[in-house]
């Protein structure tokens, strides 16, 4: 009988409301980290590899629409519906500063050099805060045609990009001149924009299309139609040979970058998927959903027999788990029933 392949994600509970944004830090000497934005007004920091909860940033009074970590994962930032963006100490969880806005803040991003924080929201104004001069007024970058949905830095912080909630396309500003130098045309408003780790590609999701743009020449490199409306997409950072997309069908799809062939379909979320992001090493990817959970999936799924989930996993982490389980069997304890908080999700198909 053929063994059925099963992909088992790590299911991260904790948020009590939909998870709307995820951000992985780069790999640091302490590992890499994942910060999640949720409508429950509390961004959470997690271990990027294991999904373990590290801490919650408390202080916002409204839904968090976006959160990010700086390059060294020492500071975090969050954009909130309470008309503020906050800067946090990622080690202690302390609030370092609150940047007041006049309307809902939808997006935030640290510059690569960690000196600046870019925000945008319903005011239709992009603001760049100098994190070394917290009390100074921010630089304002105008000419966004609509409420801002996404922001990102590129080209060594010389340019920024932004998309709008109700206007199609992605606009790119040169920060020296403060002017729009390029518009990437799309047929629907762009709900997700990601600059690849090597700075070569911009990955966008608009409607049911995922597009890849050359970040240097701004030409459209690839465009793929998805089986449903997708809210987020992410390109594999190391080899760039696959990408993921998630949206209203509640599944996280994996596609081949070059051919568009679907390589996998990860099921498990109980609500639309709002955000998908590859980890910095490309070995896993995370998805945040309306169901309030974050799921971390392995990029190269371990194959398991249905009756024995331990299979032939070569990774050291699972071997360590197997050893622990064996020890528990010997000591006569129940397997999987003690001390676990809330994970009753079953294995999903790939």
């Amino acid at each position: 009988m053929e063994k059925k392949k099963v992909t088992v994600p790590l299911v991260c509970h904790g948020h009590s409301r939909p998870v709307v944004d995820l951000f992985y830090s780069p790999i640091t000497p302490d590992g890499f980290f994942l910060i999640s934005a949720s409508k429950d007004s509390s961004p959470m920091l997690r271990n990027g590899e294991t999904g373990d909860w590290i801490g919650t940033f408390e202080g916002h009074k409204g839904a968090i629409w976006s959160s990010c970590l700086d390059t060294k994962a020492l500071r975090a930032a969050s954009a909130s519906a309470d008309f503020s963006a906050k800067l946090w100490d990622a080690l202690t969880g302390d609030e370092l500063h609150s940047f007041e806005h006049k309307h809902i803040v939808r997006a935030c991003a640290f510059s690569d050099d960690t000196h600046f924080l870019l925000t945008g929201g319903i005011e239709k104004i992009l603001r760049i805060f100098d994190l070394n001069r917290l009390d100074e007024q921010p630089r304002q970058v105008d000419n966004s045609p609509g409420s801002i949905r996404t922001v990102a830095w590129l080209h060594s912080d010389q340019m920024i990009l932004s998309s709008c909630t109700d206007t199609n396309g992605v606009r790119l500003w040169d920060l020296r001149s403060g002017k729009i130098v390029q518009t990437l045309e799309t047929k629907s408003p762009v709900t997700s924009a990601e600059v690849s780790q090597d700075g070569r590609y911009i990955t966008t999701a608009d409607g049911s299309t995922v597009k890849f743009w050359d970040a240097n020449h701004f030409g459209l490199v690839k465009s793929y139609d998805m089986p449903c409306n997708v809210e987020s997409a992410s390109l594999e950072p190391k080899r760039g040979n696959k990408f993921i997309a998630g949206g209203e069908d509640m599944w996280v799809h994996v596609f081949d970058f070059h051919t568009g062939e679907e390589l996998g379909c990860n099921k498990g979320h109980h609500g639309p998927v709002h955000c998908v992001r590859f980890s910095p090493g490309g070995g896993s990817f995370a998805s945040g959903s309306e169901d309030g959970t974050i799921r971390i999936w392995q990029t190269s799924p371990v194959t398991h027999d249905e009756s024995d989930l331990l299979g032939s996993e070569p990774s050291g982490k699972v071997k360590a788990v197997a050893d622990e389980v064996a020890r528990k069997i010997e000591s006569g304890l129940h397997i999987g029933g003690e001390g676990k908080t809330g994970d009753t999700d079953k294995a999903t198909d790939a």
């Binding site: 790590l10 409301r17 373990d52 909860w53 971390i296 397997i335 676990k340 809330g342």
Partner: protein, 211 residues
């Protein structure tokens, strides 16, 4: 519980490792824990109130269902023919007319030159609605085999005029008034031959001999 060994070994399925989650209540006990619970509940209440506000503008789902039902009932399926289907396979021309209900007899269509309903069993008056219909074949119209219930719809001229002189005129509706029976060409068929014109309301003696 240790796995049983023996003939039928049973191994409980192992659950995947679960990432740590934030504690529901931090290290608080007693009154402080209760206070933390209250704070969480208040937060939940505020979230739910916000969600309630956001859905206030939504119409009830039942209203949408009603709209769909009304639309479907008002707009017939374009693939379904109007009226009943014709069961008479020989009747092809009658069915060309829209609204033709070949299932029923169409008295106006018996000798309709627009359609040959001799073998037609159509009863629909819509079959020959055209004003050019000369189904009756009178000089104005021929009512010999006409069975129309409405004198005024079949022919251009009022029935009582065109049918005058025809014994078998089956016009059910008498003309409302007969102003000049002498011009009436009806042959009296009154059994007792009262020599009265059979024009409705007419009391004048018919000019023609009754016998």
């Amino acid at each position: 519980m240790a796995a049983r060994s023996g003939g039928s070994s049973f191994v409980q399925p192992l659950h995947p490792p679960s990432p740590k989650s934030p504690p529901k209540y931090p290290d608080l006990y007693g009154k402080r824990r209760e206070r933390a619970k209250v704070q969480m509940l208040e937060r939940e209440i505020s979230f739910l109130e916000e969600e309630l506000k956001s859905i206030e503008g939504f119409q009830p789902a039942s209203r949408y269902c009603k709209e769909v039902t009304d639309f479907v009932m008002a707009n017939s399926d374009p693939l379904i023919q109007l009226g009943l289907p014709c069961f008479n396979m020989a009747c092809t021309s009658c069915c060309r007319n829209s609204g033709c209900c070949c299932y029923l007899k169409c008295p106006e269509c018996w000798k309709c030159s627009l359609c040959d309903c001799s073998s037609c069993n159509c009863m629909s008056y819509k079959c020959c609605t055209s004003s050019d219909c000369n189904a009756c074949k009178c000089t104005s119209c021929d009512c010999s085999s006409c069975n129309c219930s409405s004198c005024f719809s079949c022919c251009k001229v009022p029935k009582w005029q065109c049918c005058c002189g025809k014994m078998s005129c089956c016009c059910k509706f008498r003309p409302p008034s007969c102003t000049n029976c002498c011009s009436c060409k009806w042959k009296c068929y009154c059994p007792k031959c009262p020599k009265l014109c059979n024009c409705f309301r007419c009391t004048k003696t018919c000019c023609n001999p009754c016998c």
